[in-house]
Subunit: 355 residues, 2 copies
Amino acid sequence: MRAIVTTPPERNSVQLMEVHKPEPKENEAVLKILKVGIDATDREINDGYSGVPPEGSPYLIIGHEAVGIVDEIGEKVKNVSVGDFVVPTVRRPCVQNCLNCRKGETDMCTTGDYLEHGILKLHGFASDYAVTGAGYLIKVPEEVKDEAVFLEPLSITEKGITQLLKIQERVVWKPEDVLVIGAGPLGLLATMVLRLKGFNVLNVSRNRVESTKAQIVRDVGGEYLDERENPLSTLGKKFDIIVEASGAASAALECCELLKSNGALCFLGLYREIQECDDFGKIFTNMVMGNKVSFGSVSSNKKHFEMGLKDLLEIKKKYPQVIGKLVSRELTPEKSSLAFKSDFEEIKTIINFQK
Amino acid sequence: MRAIVTTPPERNSVQLMEVHKPEPKENEAVLKILKVGIDATDREINDGYSGVPPEGSPYLIIGHEAVGIVDEIGEKVKNVSVGDFVVPTVRRPCVQNCLNCRKGETDMCTTGDYLEHGILKLHGFASDYAVTGAGYLIKVPEEVKDEAVFLEPLSITEKGITQLLKIQERVVWKPEDVLVIGAGPLGLLATMVLRLKGFNVLNVSRNRVESTKAQIVRDVGGEYLDERENPLSTLGKKFDIIVEASGAASAALECCELLKSNGALCFLGLYREIQECDDFGKIFTNMVMGNKVSFGSVSSNKKHFEMGLKDLLEIKKKYPQVIGKLVSRELTPEKSSLAFKSDFEEIKTIINFQK
């Protein structure tokens, strides 16, 4: 079967390879893969910054945003049947099976020794067939089999927002105004989820107001600003909730000042650029005087995929065209190397394994 | 009667003045003041950085850490009686009476237009008699009338720790190791409260291991390190909980890296020194990859004073001498100007209005 493989830490190693179709163990399912989304993590792996092949394998099959059909199941599998449309979660419990992993909260693993399909010691889903524990599959209705490839990035935003709302139970709070920074898939999906919750959402990124990204924000009833014309520091407004999804350290730094008293700030990005700060103490003092909270959020667990599915169905009902607009291009596996050259206007590149 | 007054923004304006004894309105109580503690906020007011006198008054009576005896009550007062030992809370609702102020959570006021005894538009308690709303008084048993002057700073740590534990309901969590930075009154009181909760507490500050501060940490079963010999970056250990109570921006910056995954960091200080940071993005990325949270906490409300009283009684029972050790010196009102010259080994200076 076809598989998109990399050999990290080699740079730009991505290639299509012929490999053996996997077989399920007693608790596993083999999926016939329909679509796989490519994201920044996949690009980091191809750039040689991260990615670890499974033990004994010279290569790592990538891909952790996927939707497929159950093709074969192990003898003990009860929760899914052959023919079900499913989305697999990404992270698997650490070898120590820590308190959090044991409770299914693998995203909150404390040992760091977790495994991740397509990233860390487990093959990913960018192949004609892929195998994983059946307990980690989310069944999706056939009506969203195309959109379900967004369930993984959606689950990342669901986790961040769930954490934020849970954290804010610390205070009597009537949030209204939300700022989302970044209009990549995470920023746009966070905008949608927060709109469904009834918040006024302002999305700010460095894309033109005529771009598809800006259009999507407006489609779901959000407001959009081009940060190059409206720097964050000049917004003249503060927010109850901020979701930083741009991954730009400069934006992350600036938005600390844009929280209202008692507000909460969620960081979803990895801030790789070097960003100096003249006066860090001022940022902390501002947090103290306003009883403000900031936190980082990474990965997601099955609960967040389930929340994502619920919201995906609601988004599709309320804004029928909008998820489709997130797809900038769909490539065949043979053309998949193109997905690793990102351009600025791109939102999401999908690899279609049915082609 | 005698009152310790300042005339901010004039620098070093503190003086003892003869003023009229206040009279209670129908919902107020007049307190005969026993003791008042002096803290960094009082010193900031005397340095001209903050402090606003009540409308129409040329001066501000300072003092917000106090214990007294009810001397006189307004006709509608039911909750306290003449002769009760009481501690007043500090902050009063904003003029808009915002959602939080309305619910008694004045510490979480969102408008910023709150009032504060001894700080912002209300006279403080550093006078022979002082008046305040009777509903803001905490009755204290006579057995702790001396220690109760610590109830206000204790309430500040109770708030921070309560917020932290509430925030952490976001995660399956078995915290064990706690780092408290700073061995001033807040750092030492936080160490005591966290010890009562059963945590292993390491207190790090820039005081000698032979100092009274270090001794107090050991008295309550904590571990103490002199940061000059053991820089935070060399501890080789991470923590579930960090309470930053030193007010040093450099420490605040360093401790971000010392949190375990899923950990929580509470900032209690005001970070006035200018602190540069080479790579802010790295701090954010670390927060994200570990699902870590940090927050600031300021002021406190009646609930936190009540928690503080409960803990004060328990501390007194468990470690009978330790609260007394916090008192570095007790001054008469006539000598009170000495309290505004802090020295490094000092913990708390008390003004005794019964002398």
